[in-house]
């Protein structure tokens, strides 16, 4: 069984050896002047950023400042809305392009001629002739009987 050169009472096998080694390293003294060097390094670090404040005359808490800010917001919103309104054209007709007809390659073109079909005069049907019929006037007695019969149908 071998022994630890730094501590002859300790064996060099097993977990104790590892922990002894780690303990020796963990207990090594810190170098001289470590604290002063750390102090020096901390002094060299820049201070935190400077705090900027509003000028005393334009404190954001003042009423007129709030009013001006609100007015500025309204102005910006209204101005941008007006700008959009004036730039957009309303009811603009769609552009339609009429492309000329192109004949098939190798063929003849119509040279812009438009074919009009031959019109044939249709058959003329004779108009029916209406005969004029005179209406006979109804006799007065017959009309009187019929009116009485209508008045008392039980008789």
């Amino acid at each position: 069984m071998t022994t630890n050169p730094h501590n002859p009472h300790l064996s060099t096998t097993g977990p104790e050896t590892a922990e002894d080694t780690l303990r020796i390293i963990a207990n090594l003294p810190a170098p001289d002047g470590l604290q002063s060097r750390v102090h020096h390094a901390l002094r060299r670090t820049p201070r935190r950023g400077r705090v900027l404040a509003w000028p005393a005359t334009i404190k954001p808490q003042s009423n007129w400042m709030r009013t001006a800010a609100a007015a500025a917001i309204v102005f910006v919103v209204a101005g941008s809305g007006w700008g959009v309104y004036t730039r957009v054209e309303q009811n603009r007709p769609a552009k339609v392009l009429f492309m000329p007809r192109v004949a098939a390659p190798g063929g003849f073109s119509g040279a812009g001629a438009i074919r009009t079909p031959d019109t044939v005069p249709g058959p003329a049907a004779p108009q029916p002739v209406k005969a004029k019929t005179a209406r006979k006037p109804a006799p007065k007695a017959a009309s009187a009987n019929s009116s009485a019969g209508q008045a008392n149908p039980q008789k």
Binding site: T13, A18, E19, L22, R23, P29, R37, A41, R50, V51
Partner: protein, 196 residues
């Protein structure tokens, strides 16, 4: 100071009297006290991981620079020692993750330089350094969680509760990890001894 500068200073900057100057001085004094009290302990923690004096000192300075940024919350910290160790622990782990792994021979030379000789001869010191470097190489083979607990347990000033607080785990987790780490490192050391 020119007129424009004076106007700018008078108009735009809050004068020092407006800021709580006394509170700032008190914060500076508290920070200085923390440096005096804990810089050495933080250095030892940093050195145990980095094993390089310059890197360890840089880590300590960086830790205190982080504290400066949060100096307003110093009063809210319950345990300054654990809080500072946690800061420097995160810094050194981050640095170690980024740094390339150094060869073991560097560790041996560095350990031979820094370890206490206690009246040992040069050969004995070299053998001791080699032995410790071998043990540290075995510790490096442990899983990160177990290794961290084992390394922190070497600091006698840290209880298991404080180790758990530094690592952000429960005390029972810290204990079980330490138990596993001890078993693992014992197995590793036995394995290397028998293979020789």
């Amino acid at each position: 100071m020119s007129t424009s500068q004076a106007i700018l200073a008078g108009w735009m900057e809050i004068p020092d009297s407006a800021v709580n100057e006394e509170a700032r001085r008190a914060g500076d004094a508290a920070l200085g006290a923390l440096v005096d009290q804990y810089a050495a302990a933080l250095y030892r923690v940093a050195y145990s991981v980095l094993r390089n004096p310059a890197d360890a000192e840089d880590a300590v300075q960086e830790a205190f620079l982080r504290v400066v940024r949060h100096r307003d919350t110093l009063n809210e910290v319950r345990d300054h020692r654990v809080w500072l160790i946690r800061i420097v622990w995160n810094i050194v782990l981050d640095r170690k993750r980024r740094a390339k792994t150094r060869p073991e021979t560097d560790d041996v030379a560095e350990l031979a330089r820094v370890l206490p000789s206690n009246g040992l001869s040069a050969e004995e010191v070299a053998a001791a350094a080699q032995h410790h470097a071998h043990v540290l190489a075995c510790v490096e083979q442990l899983p990160p969680k177990e290794r961290e607990v084992l390394m922190l347990s070497a600091f006698e000033e840290l209880s298991s509760v404080e180790i758990a607080a530094v690592l952000g785990i429960t005390e029972s987790s810290a204990r079980s990890r330490l138990f596993r780490a001890r078993n693992l490192v014992a197995g590793l050391l036995d394995h290397t001894r028998t293979s020789k």
